[in-house]
Symmetry: C2
Subunit: 104 residues, 2 copies
């Protein structure tokens, strides 16, 4: 199993609409990916090593998929639509990371 994680750094922009992200953007991804989205998780940043100080991330999401190939095949055709929706909730340029889920 792999996951695609998308991180929104706290110092990367000025706005992030958590409600839109949760109720519109992530459900859009889930619908477009179909079976290639096993589940997803949304994080809302609380803080860094010492919470209430040094928050490094405003938010993040993690989309779990059976394999990298399955994810890419499902995501590719919808990439433009999904990317176009980002401006509706943030001006932060996200950081994308793909990982193998080793254990969990």
């Amino acid at each position: 199993m792999i996951k695609m994680s998308v991180y929104y750094p706290a110092n990367g922009g000025s706005k992030f609409d958590h409600d839109y992200y949760r109720t519109r953007h992530m459900p859009l991804i889930q619908e477009r990916l179909g079976d290639a989205c096993l589940r997803y998780e949304i994080d809302k940043g609380l803080g860094g090593r010492r919470p209430s100080r040094d928050t490094t991330l405003v938010a993040a999401c993690h989309v779990y998929s059976p394999s990298l190939a399955a994810f890419q095949a499902a995501f590719g055709p919808h990439r433009a639509e999904i990317a176009a929706d980002v401006a509706n909730y943030t001006d932060i340029t996200p950081i994308v990371q793909i990982s193998e889920v080793v254990e969990g």
Copy 2:
């Protein structure tokens, strides 16, 4: 529910022993945290937006806990021991992030 995520940036050091991390370090954390560790997840970085290029993270872990207070109370007494174990698998200075799990 919150999670404490620990990220190991690819450009932050020269070694990372994934086996030690999986078989020794994370089980140590789980044991020391007890009930404050609901579960944990380990990520092994595969790549960035274009896998096989621009890997941003070598590895990460996410420890799920009922609340920030429960996590801090359980982690505090073992912080020094857990921190001392890090040198056994990596020389990368990790980035810590605490998040609320909004959905997932």
